[in-house]
């Protein structure tokens, strides 16, 4: 690939550049809020509705699917149910984001179960076994008291 101006560009690697944009009017974002029609040179694609068979959650504040959206990782399992519930909560409520963060953690555990079912079953069995082993045995006196009561 041609990089004919690379030597020139490399000069910008170090130090202070000249104050080429000292005049605020030379800055693209001044004013920040511009009048309608500012982006008139753009090609404006028709807002055709994207079609999909994938389940996509729509936030209660949005109401309907926008013209385009992502279709990766559709909701599923317990985390999917939690996410669906969260999307019914308005975005200005903390409950929405807390539920989503919890769903994210559940999603991680679900994915581990799906990827390593045998290993996960063994890990769960090991934890249950460890709890059983660690359960303190009742002394003879405790057993006697239990019978009396």
């Amino acid at each position: 690939m041609s990089t004919g101006i690379s030597d020139l560009i490399a000069r910008g690697a170090t130090g202070r550049p000249e104050a080429a944009d000292a005049e605020p009017s030379s800055r693209p974002g001044v004013p920040f809020y511009k009048p309608a029609g500012t982006s008139s040179e753009l090609v404006r694609p028709a807002l055709d509705q994207q079609q999909t068979d994938v389940r996509v959650l729509v936030g209660v504040d949005v109401g309907k699917l926008p013209p385009v959206f992502g279709t990766c990782q559709p909701p599923r399992g317990l985390s999917g149910l939690m996410r669906r519930a969260a999307y019914h909560i308005p975005e200005h409520k903390a409950g929405r984001w807390m539920t989503l963060l919890m769903a994210d953690r559940v999603d991680v555990w679900e994915s581990r179960l799906r990827r390593h079912p045998v290993l996960s079953a063994l890990a769960i069995a090991a934890v249950i076994g460890a709890v059983q082993v660690r359960r303190p045995r009742r002394s003879r006196l405790q057993r006697l008291l239990a019978q009396l009561t």
Partner: protein
């Protein structure tokens, strides 16, 4: 195709995934040539952004070659080399019509708070990102910019996010000739914010961080003064001292929700998640800026809230401005700065890794190993 895949907090891997398809008449499919790991990807990587689903592909800074073109696409054809802004924007809604592409209303089914963003959780639309061999690019007539024939992909890669973000950060500070500008964060966005502050005529630029190698980079890349907050008792006091007790004219938060420097903020925000990450940098900005000064925020914070010293801001009469970057608005202007040799964005690249080693890239960037400033991923098809 090979793609970076999220497996859970601090766990990512390159795995084989199905190839993306055209899903809308104005889509294109891009064969990725370069994809960078952004500092804000680390918030996803650490599980701080709600609705980050296992199996997602991150990546919102990428260049590529058009592979497949939707039926209504007018501007692009197969074989075009393009740089793609991280915002996905329709080009015609109320906000796009005012060049506020980051606030587009037509690309995010999740929440009106943000537009669609490539590879940045379902909170910003559920689009897969560009840390992959192929990526779907919606509204291809609006966002992508053709790469001039005489420029390499790496010359323009950072026009997709961090350079415009740093520039917008400086611009939102309303910098006037001779102003003292303090930039919190010597990561890539902070470096570009510092460089942009000079472009806007700043008289003094001070970059604050705790990583010495990053401060060294700030001195070298942007010719700024630096302050290591880990080496002083009180960073705010230090800045006030440096500015005749008044404070800086402009303070920029280029850190975001994983800031160090305050045990209380880190504990409540990052560990307990009682707030949307640590708001340390915003508070330092508010406390370090002069009365009637400008605070500009481009650091990323998740919903729903943060502990901010808003009473101090009110009493000092500070103007606070913030937004995700409207990348498309800045691309032609900044391309000209690159072309004129004022800024060489690729000079901040510290590591190039094959996509297969994406997990190492994330770990290195997250743990700041090997003096990592910016890591660029090269897909197998682009490495040949």
């Amino acid at each position: 195709m090979l793609a970076m895949t999220y497996l859970g907090p601090s766990r990512v891997k390159a795995v084989q995934k199905p190839e993306p398809k055209l899903e809308h008449p104005n889509d294109v499919i891009l064969r990725v040539t370069r994809a960078a790991i952004c500092g804000s990807d680390l918030h996803l990587y650490h599980g701080l952004i709600p609705d980050t689903r296992v199996g997602s592909t991150f990546g919102h800074e990428f260049t590529g070659v058009v592979e497949e073109v939707g039926s209504s696409v007018q501007k692009l054809k197969r074989g075009d080399r393009v740089a793609v802004p991280f915002n996905i924007s329709c080009g015609s809604c109320f906000f796009c019509d005012r060049e506020l592409y980051a606030n587009c209303e037509n690309t995010n089914p999740s929440a009106p708070v943000a537009s669609g963003v490539f590879g940045y959780s379902h909170t910003t639309g559920g689009f897969d990102g560009g840390q992959a061999e192929l990526v779907r690019v919606p509204f291809a007539d609006v966002g992508p910019m053709k790469i001039p024939d005489d420029m390499s992909d790496e010359d323009v890669l950072f026009l997709t996010d961090i350079f415009p973000t740093g520039y917008q950060a400086a611009e939102m500070g309303s910098i006037a000739r001779g102003d003292t500008v303090v930039v919190f964060g010597a990561g890539p966005v902070g470096l570009f914010a510092a460089k942009s502050a000079w472009l806007m005529g700043a008289g003094r630029v001070i970059v604050v961080d705790e990583q010495e190698y990053r401060l060294e980079k700030a001195r070298q890349f942007s010719g700024s003064e630096t302050l290591n907050f880990a080496e002083v008792d009180d960073v705010v006091k230090e800045i006030l001292h440096e500015t005749d007790g008044r404070g800086a004219d402009v303070c920029i938060d280029a850190v975001g929700c994983e800031a160090s420097g305050s045990m209380m903020q880190k504990f409540s925000g990052v560990l307990l998640k009682m707030q949307a990450g640590a708001a340390t940098a915003i508070n330092w900005c508010i406390q370090s800026v002069r009365k009637a000064g400008h605070v500009s925020i481009v650091g990323v914070y998740g919903p729903p809230w943060n502990f901010i010293a808003i009473g101090v801001a009110m009493n000092k009469g500070i103007t606070m401005r913030m937004n995700q970057c409207n990348v498309k608005r800045y691309m032609p202007h900044l391309l000209e700065h690159v072309r004129q040799g004022r800024v060489d964005p690729k000079a901040i690249i510290s590591h190039r890794l094959p996509l297969e080693e994406v997990h190492e890239g994330y770990e290195m960037f997250a743990r700041k190993k090997d003096n990592c400033i910016k890591c660029v991923l090269v897909p197998p098809s682009a490495a040949a």
